[in-house]
Amino acid sequence: MAVLDTTIDPRTPSYLENRGVMLERIAELEAALDSARGGGGEKYVTRHHARGKLLPRERIELLLDRDAPFLELSSVAAWGTDYPVGGSVVTGIGVVEGVECVIVANDPTVRGGAVNPYALRKTQRAGEIALANRLPLVNLVESGGADLPSQAEIFIPGGRVFRDLTRLSAAGVPTVSVVFGNATAGGAYVPGMSDYTVMVRNQAKVFLAGPPLVRMATGEVTDDESLGGAAMHATRSGLADYIAEDERDGIRLARQCVRRLNWRKASSARNALPAPPKHDPEDLIAIASADLKVPFDPREVLARVLDGSEFDEFKPGYGTALVTGWGELHGYPVGVLANARGVLFSEESQKAAQFIQLANAAATPLLFLQNTTGYMVGAEYEQRGIIKHGALMINAVANSKVPHLTVNLGASYGAGNYGMCGRAYDPRFLFSWPNAKSAVMGPAQLAGVLSIVARQAAEAKGQPYDEDSDKAMRAMVERQIETESVALFLSGRLYDDGVIDPRDTRTVLGLCLSAIHSGPIEGAAGYGVFRM
């Protein structure tokens, strides 16, 4: 076993500069999280509390086992859009009665918990995670249904939420819902489609149509409690399995449901008390280069993430721009692929393809640490078959069946994003460091390409090329691409599962690896035809 050493010196200017820049990014992340934690704002939060009701994160805290960790997912959903950060729902993975569960909690302080396009994508993503990893799903429901102004974006795709709930159940992944307030119209199908439902007395309102709509439709004059109160559903309709006296009691009953699932994880950590890394995780905020163009050694990250800083490198002398090797993380074995020098060449691609197959043969999950500017370009590399070799790697990644975890540590550009298991390649979990960027190419390159193409078009037509407008165009494009490449923007679009403080990398990955092992781990039986 090889123990990774470190060459980082906290007294160097680069350390301090890297750290300074990362702390700025972390401060931006914290500001975004503050906004998410603020829900619908102080006024609505105060009003909600005054009604004796709990905020979604308070409900979650109460649901979780005490002192157990909780990973919130897609926390900054809708960042950079017109919708509130967080998207009117809180999702995450936590431990309930010793069972790792996916938890989805509507935030009723954000427009009554109404589902906007980002809330929908976030909820669906949580459902995907529950299904892919076989994690029981607990819904803490209080939502006015669809956000009507944006109904065009959510009504038709939104039906999938209910389909996914019952498909989870069909796949043997239990679902529990606790209704704290409104769950009306389509929303009524969340409890409707759950294996277990709990409703809170005098709070739950679960009906297809409320009193005004019923009156419009049939002329019947009735009230909330008769149409969909907890007592009615617990004694008449049978939609509620349990009636809770108050919110805390509702959480108690949800925990009781989970306790009685007799849930068994498919497998557990090989080592319940793994050795922590030998090097200080605090350094993780000073490893990523302040300037994305400067590559850094991912072994410095692995030395602060892997158990005991132990890492057995595979093919250390071949294709050295990509580091591959084996280690354990919170007791779970992982195969690691990490960019060491940005660019992927043919050797790196072939090495990756082989390594991914080995991991599949051994049913070992893979961890991708992205810091890539893409596959090498240029005549020489094209002639030596960089596409063919890149295709080998992408084929292996695409058809790999072991769970993948991806963390963008810095850059994720071009097809490198694909080869290093970007979002489109369905890693089980994908997180970004706050400094990370991702785009088809770098802003300057993209603007330059546009400029060259425009200049060539002008030349072809024999027109003069306006250098001033070219300059303005390039600046504008660079700004736009820069804005659209940053971690918070991409996370806001649900292109990852969250932006994380680098110091939490080991914890986040450990939690995800444990979640993954709730379900079986199997390698691929076959791949696409490898072009040789």
């Binding site: 994160r57 109460l62 960790p69 008390l273 793994p274 919170h330």
Partner: protein, 674 residues
């Protein structure tokens, strides 16, 4: 020669006697009641005989059963210990009649000393100094006087009378109490001395006419005429006075033909005169302090004398070395009228004990304990759990050692008088030797709990919560190696709600990723608002830089409090957390995070105020009662406690019946007020 000894007793004194037996090769026989089946004294004896039942009158006071047990087990001697049958002349006679060796004075001496009036008369003739005594209350001229029961003991039947008008009534009530308690209503009056000290002399007499005094003990720290702290030598006794006391004790011993271990009790006035009080014809509870300073095993001497051998130190009193102080650690709450406490003693651990049940080879702590971890403290017997003795070169050192050891003793599960003992030992008046039998009445500050500050309680609560967190993490079945309570988007805090010494408190804490404290609070919670504990509270702010976690383990938490490291030992049993630190001990009962909604008490429920037995039920279900009407009575610790209707109404249920054992908080009756 005694081969096999039956000890007609229980608890620490039985263990004490067995310990000497083991040292000198005598086999041991224990007797035990139902409640004592698992008691340490039973486990330590070679043979044990069951005395069915629990009440002393059915068990340890049944001389016939005990003699039968001795016969059945082949015991050839009986030691009565103290209390129970120790000063029962009939029992002593029955043992001798059964052909067994009685480890104690002859029955006729016990009988004589059992009557204080007769004993005083006999000893006055021998020249032992006596207080003015009046057999006829009419003759009393000088006040104050003490009314005493002739057959009394343990403070019962005693009354102080300060003026002539109250005398008749005091005599009448003392007579009633004495008749009830001892079957003999004879009382007498004795001049009462203010600020008197209790001094006693340990003597030993053999069957060869040798009498050896072992010096004095002072037992002035008393509660309700019962000794609490004893020591030797007395800081009030000069060498000359010691000689006079010993001579008086020897004269008294000789005058009655005494044999064995005995104690002659004197009253010492503030002006230095001493007067005979009574003679105890048994080994005293506090014999251990004498053993410490003399180096002599008094139980061994008792056995030697019982075997007819002469005292080895005949003719010369043993050399006294240093100073010894004993405290009686009792399961009782001094601040609440000494109310006996019951429950399971989950842990009883005294630090750095040098020896148990025997004279110490070097200065230090001696422990004579009747309990062990897990002992159940019931209502049937004496509340004394253990005696702790410190022996040191000087009185100051002994007091310091004893106070410190008591402070660090872990006593979990049962309330005790520990804090009071520590406060007395550290009291300036005690330290300077200015003590008398009114000490506890004069210095009421010693009744305050020991904890030094409100902050000590707060920080102990935090330590308990952090230990609980560590325990939950250690027991986690998944994600065990991840940081405790980790959040990538922190918002709330971890909450524990305890019922503490001053009512419910909520502890909130949040940890950073590396396990250091990000924030914490401890605040009182209105019992009515318990449902809301931990909810709707603003996130923990990072404004407590003064406390840092050095170490947090399930049983041990080390905190840095503004630069001072403090170690808390945390012992959790079920919902209870016992936190011990140099700041004192705190007992916390964790309240459930999710109370069952149906667990609420019916309005109008009357709860048992203390553990005991229901003696009489005077109403039936459905009966209408007036406010203040007596509904039932509880008997606990030989006292009858009435249970009255708090308001007029109808009794809707009575879940208990006469004879039922109840714990504190048991529902006795439910009353629907009108």
């Amino acid at each position: 020669m005694i081969r096999r000894l039956l000890v007609a007793n229980r608890g620490e004194i039985a263990r004490r006697i067995f310990a000497t037996c083991r040292l000198i090769g005598i086999e041991t026989v224990a007797v035990y009641s139902d409640a004592d089946a698992d008691a340490p004294h039973v486990a330590e004896a070679d043979y044990a005989v069951h005395l069915p039942g629990n009440a002393p009158t059915a068990t340890y006071l049944r001389g016939d059963l005990i003699v039968a047990a001795a016969r059945k087990t082949g015991a050839d001697a009986v030691h009565p210990g103290y209390g129970f049958l120790a000063e029962n002349a009939d029992f002593a006679a029955a043992v001798a009649d059964a052909g067994l060796t009685w480890v104690g004075p002859p029955a006729k001496v016990i009988q004589l000393m059992g009557s204080k009036i007769e004993a005083k008369a006999r000893l006055a003739d021998a020249g032992v100094p006596m207080l003015p005594t009046y057999l006829d209350p009419e003759q009393v001229t000088d006040f104050p006087v003490m009314v005493k029961a002739s057959a009394g003991g343990g403070g019962r039947g005693m009354r102080i009378v300060r003026e002539a008008e109250s005398l008749a009534e005091a005599v009448a009530s003392a007579r009633r109490e004495a008749a009830g308690a001892f079957g003999d209503g004879t009382v007498f009056c004795e001049t009462y001395v203010e600020r008197a000290r209790h001094i006693e002399v340990q003597i030993f007499a053999d069957t060869h006419g040798n009498i050896v005094p072992f010096g004095e003990r002072e037992c002035s720290i008393q509660r309700r005429h019962q000794k609490l702290i004893e020591e030797t030598p007395s800081p009030a006794v000069t060498p000359q006075m010691r000689e006079d006391l010993c001579n008086a004790a020897v004269a008294a011993t000789r005058a009655v033909g005494y044999v064995g271990a005995g104690t002659v009790e004197f009253l010492l006035t503030p002006t230095g005169e001493f007067y005979f009080l009574e003679m105890n014809t048994r080994l005293q509870v506090e014999h251990g302090v004498t053993e410490c300073v003399s180096g002599v095993d008094l139980v061994q001497l008792q056995l030697l004398v019982a075997e007819g051998l002469p005292l080895p130190m005949a003719g010369s009193a043993p050399q006294i070395r240093g100073h010894a102080i004993e405290v009686r650690l009792c399961a009782e709450d001094p601040a609440y009228a000494w109310l006996p406490a019951t429950g399971t003693l989950h842990r009883f651990r005294v630090p750095e004990v040098v020896a148990e049940f025997r004279a110490l080879p070097q200065p230090g702590l001696r422990l004579d304990s009747g309990v062990r971890d897990g002992s159940v403290i019931g209502v049937h017997y004496d509340s004394m759990l253990a005696k702790l003795i410190a022996w040191a070169p000087t009185r100051h050192e002994a007091a310091r050692l004893l106070a410190s050891a008591l402070t660090r003793t872990e006593i979990h599960g049962v309330a005790t008088n520990r804090d009071l003992l520590v406060r007395v030992l550290r009291h300036q008046a005690y330290r300077s030797g200015e003590i008398d039998t009114g000490f506890l009445d004069r210095y009421t500050e010693v009744f305050a709990p020991l904890l030094s500050s409100v902050d000590a309680v707060r920080v102990s609560c935090l330590a308990a919560a952090l230990a609980g967190a560590a325990a939950r993490r250690a027991d986690a079945t998944v994600l065990r190696s991840l940081p405790s309570g980790w959040r990538n988007v922190p918002s709330g805090a971890q909450i524990t709600v305890y019922d503490g010494p001053a009512g419910p408190v909520e502890v909130g804490y949040r940890l950073h990723r590396a396990g250091d404290l990000a924030g914490w609070w401890v605040r009182a919670v209105d019992p009515e608002e318990l449902d809301l504990a931990g909810l709707g509270h603003p996130p923990v702010t990072d404004d407590h830089p003064a406390v840092a976690i050095v170490e947090a383990e399930p049983h041990r938490v080390v905190l840095d409090l503004a630069g001072i490291r403090l170690t808390f030992r945390v012992h959790r049993v079920g919902d209870a957390s016992y936190v011990d630190s140099p700041e004192g001990s705190v007992t916390l009962a964790e309240l459930p995070r999710f109370p069952e909604p149906a667990a609420e008490l019916t309005d109008g429920s009357l709860l048992a105020p203390l553990p005991g037995a229901v003696s009489r039920v005077l109403v039936v279900s459905g009966q209408r009662v007036d406010a203040g009407e007596l509904l039932m009575t509880l008997e606990a610790m030989k006292l009858e406690h009435p249970v009255h209707a708090p308001a007029a109404g109808v009794v809707t249920s009575i879940p208990v019946s006469a004879g039922a054992q109840v714990d504190t908080g048991t529902v006795l009756a439910v009353l629907t007020p009108e």
